[in-house]
Amino acid sequence: MLKLMFTSALAAACVFGLGAGIAAADEAKCLRVVGPEWTAEGQSVDPARIITTGDVLRITSIYQKLAEMDDNYQPQPVLAESWESNQDGTSWTFHLRKGVKFQDGRDFTAKDVVWSFQRLFDPKLDTGAKSILSMIDPSKIVAVDDSTVQFTLKAANAIFPAVLTTKYAAIVPNGSTQDQLQKHPVGTGPFMVDNFTPGPKFVAKRNPYYWGKGEPGADCIEFSGISETVSRVSALTSGQADLLVQLEPSAAATLDKSSGVKVLMAPGGMYLDFAMWVDTPPFNDERVRTAMKLVVDRSAFVNTVMLGIGTPGNDNPVSPLSPDAYQHAAIPQDIEKAKQLLADAGYPNGLKVDLYTSDSLAVMIPAAQVYKQMAAKAGIDVNVIVSPADSYWTEIFLKRPFITSYWGDRPPSEALGIAYLSDSANNETHWKRPAYDALLNKANGTIDPDARRALYQQTEKMLAEQGGVIVPAFATTTAAIRDGCSGFTPNNNAANFDFSTLTCK
């Protein structure tokens, strides 16, 4: 009997091995892209609603925007071929690409653009786009003709096309509702689905009407997510996946040392920050805030939390690598000065604060711990409170005076405004300075690029020196691709994916 069992076990093992081989061969024709997480819940294929990585992957393969951001934060034409504004930047005209069709065969026209933007302002729709696109007056979007759209803005905005590259601004067919899109998403992107049902994988096939010549590079594409780092890394090295996106530092470090795969990096990426409420003691004293910022050893931060895959940050949302940065060198750590400032502010024996964090993004917890270590040197006792990931963004974010947070990479106009304008819905530091608002708005409305840059720099400086946000580091957007595949470059903005040129042998 034992012999029988042993033989059958051996046979089973052989079958499994064979099966693995066959299974791998079976799926070789679809591009297999794997992200770091996947939720069975809440899967969206409507650009008005983008919450998870899965949503971003799905939506960037099905839909397209008028323009896309390159690594220098300049908008590049996609569905809009060119654009121009009037003298003072209050009205913008976009000339649309001709001959583009939607995935169901109908033509792409200006009316689709008008509808796509107007629906983002529908109060019944849940969308984070409203605050980003707040300069648009929805009643003043006009289809001048079939391939021209004109936007008349509430206030002058010199970099409006860059704003339109936000992930929510994808173009959907005229008249489509969320219910319709959730079941039958129709866009102009390289891949499409006939019907959508949520599931552990998302498979899209080539769009036969796609306007890009010779694109996409494969017949189909498959998205999924694996939260376990070892499993995900093994999937790539064993050939079960073709591309891994949004890699965390430990996965990138592991893959760097693996053969058969290549790690790809964009020049920049998202930033981590610690947000203090500037209207709450002890942070309402600017000296305390400055002390809290001076304890950070920024390059050490990058080397530990991001394992070197990042850039030091300078307490404002513009990366020091960007030409728009007010200062390119990292602000040095200065423990003595921090202690001095605390003493001046009335805390000669140090300070005790609570810092909230969560593992909703893997690096947020190590970030808080590293900050705690650094702050301890100046006598600041940081009590790190880890909150459950699921409720962090509803219960803790915007509701506690000192939290860990992160923001995706954005052009300066959006980055400096989304969390720091007086009326911002995401004002994580309760920063309300009319002078700052005025400066930023003026910058946005300045046509001359050099003058605009100077104004942005002044805005950043004000925020860095007086604001309540500590930005220790930017994390470089990283991806990994296996040898045998090519045609993918990660973008600074981790939510910008372009799979149209990805091919695999």
Binding site: E228, T229, V230, V233, S234, E248, P249, S250, A251, A253, T254, K257, S258, A300, N303, T304, V305, L307, D359, A362, I365, P366, Q369, V370, K372, Q373, V384, I385, V386, S387, P388, A389, D390, S391, Y392, E395, I396
Partner: protein, 290 residues
């Protein structure tokens, strides 16, 4: 019959213990010593960053390597030993006491009270324990998440129903005995009977149950840590350490294997001792986890 001297009796006891009990006891002793003296033995502070090159593997200076935040993992393990042991013991103790009380009470009362309690206990046991634990952690709110006290309560919540079942069946075995009947006739109050008559006579079952549950408790805490709702970092609880470092397993396997081996050896040791001791006192034991 000759009187056995104390040494002779001890010698007899020693002979009756199996090898597994001796080895288990030895390992347990090492763990207890580490729990007490660990923090002194560690070469580095468990939260000290910059003690070595991040993600480097095993070396003489760093037997378990260095983690992503450049902390020495071996020092963290040494400092976390007492946390694991205290959490497991207290969680199991609370769960056992509550569960035993409920189980014995139910056995003694009989009738519809027994039925009702039994059904409720069954209901709790039927809910998958991870979901129950998760619901409990979330229900406690974001402020308490990750605190050791909450973990103790969650362990107790998971164990109490299972212990209650065991205590009830043990209690049912003895409530028909005369001394219980006598106590009832004497007019003793319910809790008095439970405490003075029932409990002492099921104590050996309960002790074995306690040991068995304590053995699994570290794994339970570690599993919650693995899923993301356990003890909050930077507390060097072993499960959290394994969980923190599992992303770098391929780069530095000792980062996971080291603490993992420590965790497993602790559980093995408790299991061995439990089995050996219960064989000595004549109890039948099943190493059950759920």
């Amino acid at each position: 019959m000759a009187r056995r001297t104390r040494t002779a009796r001890l010698a007899l006891l020693w002979h009756r213990t199996g090898w597994s009990l001796r080895i288990g006891a030895l390992i347990l002793l090492v763990h207890l010593l580490v729990a007490v003296f660990g923090p002194w033995l560690a070469s580095y502070d468990p939260n000290e960053m910059g003690s070595g090159i991040p993600l480097s593997g095993a070396s003489w200076a760093h037997p378990f390597g260095v983690d992503q935040l450049s902390r020495d993992i071996f020092s963290r393990v040494l400092n976390g030993s007492h946390i694991v042991i205290i959490l497991s013991l207290s969680g199991t103790f609370v769960g056992l006491t509550v569960g035993a009380a409920i189980g014995l009470f139910s056995a003694y009362m009989g009738g519809w009270v027994d039925e009702l309690i039994q059904r409720t206990v069954e209901a709790f046991v039927s809910i998958p324990f991870i979901v129950l634990g998760l619901l409990a952690v979330y229900a406690a709110g974001p402020e308490s998440a990750g605190k050791p006290a909450l973990m103790v309560l969650v362990i107790a919540l998971l164990y109490a129903p299972r212990v209650a079942r065991m205590a009830r069946s043990a209690g049912l075995d003895i409530i028909t005995h005369d001394y219980v009947l006598a106590a009832r006739l004497r007019g003793e109050r319910v809790w008095s009977v439970i405490w003075f008559e029932l409990a002492p006579n099921v104590i050996s079952t309960l002790i074995v149950e306690f040991a068995v549950r304590t053995a699994y408790a570290p794994a339970l805490v570690a599993t919650f840590g693995f899923l993301g709702f356990g003890i909050q970092p930077p507390t060097p609880e072993w499960g959290s350490i394994i969980s923190e470092n599992r992303g770098i397993f391929l780069l530095s396997p000792v980062a996971v294997l080291g603490p993992g081996a420590c965790l497993a050896s602790l559980i093995v040791a408790v299991n061995m001792v439990t089995e050996g001791v219960s064989r000595l006192i004549g109890q039948r034991v099943e190493i059950a986890s759920r």
